[in-house]
Amino acid sequence: MTNETKMTARHVDVFYGDKKAIDDVSIDIDNGIVTAFIGPSGCGKSTFLRSLNRMNDTIPIARVTGEIKLDGDDIYASGMDPVALRARVGMVFQKPNPFPKSIYENIAYGPRIHGIAQGKADMDAIVEKALTRAGLWQEVKDRLTDAGTALSGGQQQRLCIARAIAVSPEVILMDEPCSALDPIATARIEELIEDLKNRYAIVIVTHSMQQAARVSQRTAFFHLGNLVEYGDTEQVFQNPQETRTKDYITGRYG
């Protein structure tokens, strides 16, 4: 996959009630690479992430203005079905949230509601492929009927990634996917992100600057609802253009 632009945001504001959480953010998200959103707590990076697949719609008081496009189509246009959008823009959450079902059913859930699989054999193949890509197949292939919630935290998070992959999304949004995991499980997820990045456009929100530096090719630094700086990860970390970015990266606040 080439580094073409997958999503574009132009002059995006997000409001919670009267409070402006995101102020005039414009950004391009490219295919085939990992884009990291970093910034101190409360800077709006997760809020912005959730507006990329319209998950903010589930919060009654949230309101998004501006323009966000996926492959050139405005995702907030009246003709756009948020349900169809979310099948194309998958999401992995902060805390692993497997459904209270078997491992198999966790993966089969998405393909089933979208009618992707043709029969049982096809579904089995989809489940195996998704689990393999998520690096979980070897660990769970003999216990697909066990409850998804019985896995360890790191395995649960990989199950959630496999679940997102199973509906063949084009973009995967990850909202601090490692914040509830131990260092070893975190390392596994980071390897997984590395393996997946060629197939999807991946956006990861993270608190850890080291993680952003390790996994991403592009980094966006948010502060108080503003996009302060956006560029190649190497450049942002080694040679930030803005003093606020520099102060944050060198640990002066955050």
Binding site: R86, Y109, I113
Partner: protein
């Protein structure tokens, strides 16, 4: 009368004890850290030592003295004329007691008037003994505590223990009352089963206690039609109404309604739970039941009855809606938001998310809510008394009049009844069955809820 005097005396003694003990303890104060408890705690400690033994003595005496009074009265020469039967003897003594406390009462039995005088003197005599006993206990307790007022006495922690015991006693009263109710049910039920075999009671299909005389007594106490009526009205018809409506309203309120709608629909639904059941009863009897009768007539029913299982069941179902919906509401709200977010983020619609993720996760709580609702519905009395009818009938026809366990209990115990006839005693057997069934339902439901809560915490 006596109880007011005793309580006032005990309170007065306690107050005096508190002041004097406090004053004495203050004299012991020689500086900072010289005492293990403040003077006030010494006062409280002494007051508790006055009140608690006195009240225990009074409680014991109230339980024992009526027996002693009766014995004293029976020793009177006039009591020789009392009949031998325990029942009659007890009723005459009861009358004598009434005359003794209020001389204007007219007794049926002239003997009661004769015995009133010895009764009154015995009561006075034992009353004085009782007061004396209470006083002795109060003074003994107070005296004991008085000797303990020393600088190194830990009055504070003793008072703490006393208060703990007081609270324990308060909670024991509720438990003991339950135990007492169960014991009386079991006792009366045992009396009933001396006359009627438990087997034919639990499995017989013919219920007409009015005809129960002589040898065929077993055949007239078959309670199956009552059990069936109870289950049919409370657990089937009512639940067909309450489960879907309660569940759907809970789903709407938790998943779809915005804050504005929730603000008035939720309280409105809860008002339904606050309507007295007797109001539901006449709503059923005056509005629903005639409508159902007319409907039955229009279907070509011959002589449809005004009372029907359907009328009672429908109204009971409406009454139960808030129970089902509030339990379902709680358990749906307990499903972590992350779980439904996960499903929505996969591109599932709201209703797919509810059907496939939220409801399965909330199911144990919902099931528990339904069980609690059933246990309430089968114990419900007023609606069935007013709308279901009195005919014990084993039928699946919802338009027929039917009777329930609760209705029959009311029937057996109201009006003039002999208290030792099987007919009256059957009410206790029915009550015991009802109690056991609802108890089991409640225990299972609470267990399920507890397990479910643990799973998400």
């Amino acid at each position: 009368m006596l109880i007011a005097v005793v309580l006032a005396v005990v309170a007065g003694l306690g107050l005096i004890g508190w002041y004097t003990a406090r004053a004495k303890a203050r004299l012991l104060y020689t500086g900072r850290g010289s005492m293990r408890a403040t003077a006030n705690y010494h006062g409280l400690h002494l007051a508790l030592w006055i009140a608690i033994p006195a009240l225990i003595a009074f409680a014991v005496w109230t339980a024992v003295s009526p027996g002693l009074v009766n014995e004293a009265v029976l020793a009177d020469p006039a009591a020789q004329m009392l009949p031998a039967s325990d029942m009659e003897r007890a009723s005459i003594l009861a009358e004598a007691r009434a005359v003794a406390s209020d001389p204007s009462t007219v007794a049926f039995n002239p003997l009661a008037n004769r015995l009133a005088e010895p009764m009154r003197s015995a009561q006075t005599q034992f009353g004085f003994i009782g007061i004396a006993l209470v006083l002795i206990c109060a003074l003994a307790g107070g005296g004991y505590a008085w000797t303990r007022i020393r600088a190194d006495f830990p009055a504070r922690s003793r008072v703490e223990r006393g208060i703990m015991l007081l609270l324990l006693a308060a909670s024991l009263i509720a438990i003991l009352t339950t135990v007492g109710i169960v014991a009386s049910l079991v006792f009366e039920t045992a009396l009933f089963f001396r006359d009627v075999s438990p087997w034919s009671f639990l499995t017989g299909t013919h219920w007409s206690p009015g005809n129960a005389i002589g040898a065929d007594i077993d055949d007239n106490f078959g309670a199956v039609p009552l059990f069936w009526g109870t289950i049919y009205i409370g657990a089937i018809i009512a639940m067909i109404i309450a489960i879907p409506l309660g569940l759907m309203s809970a789903i709407y309120l938790t998943q779809y309604a915005d804050a504005k709608v929730r603000r008035w629909t939720k309280p409105a639904l809860e008002i339904l739970a606050g309507v007295p059941t007797v109001v539901y009863g006449y709503f059923a009897a005056l509005t629903i039941a005639p409508a159902i009768r007319d409907f039955a007539a229009s279907l070509g029913y011959q002589n449809p009855s005004t009372e029907s299982a359907l009328a009672a069941g429908l109204v009971m179902g409406v009454m139960i809606i808030p129970f089902v919906s509030s339990m379902a509401d709680d358990s749906i709200a307990a499903v972590p938001r992350a779980m439904s977010d996960g499903s929505l983020a996969m591109g599932a619609t709201r209703s797919e998310t509810i059907k496939k993720v939220v409801l399965p996760a909330a199911l144990p709580g919902i099931v528990a809510g339904v069980m609690l609702a059933v246990s309430r519905a089968i114990g419900e009395t007023m609606i069935v008394v007013m709308a279901a009818g009195a005919t014990a009938r084993l039928t699946a026809d919802p338009l027929a009049s039917m009777t329930t366990v609760t209705y029959q209990i009311v029937q057996m115990l109201t009006g003039d009844q002999e208290f030792d006839s099987p007919k009256t005693l059957s009410a206790f057997a029915l009550g015991l069955v009802l109690f056991i069934v609802t108890l089991i339902l409640n225990i299972i439901a609470l267990r399920v809820v507890k397990r479910f809560r643990e799973a998400y915490e």
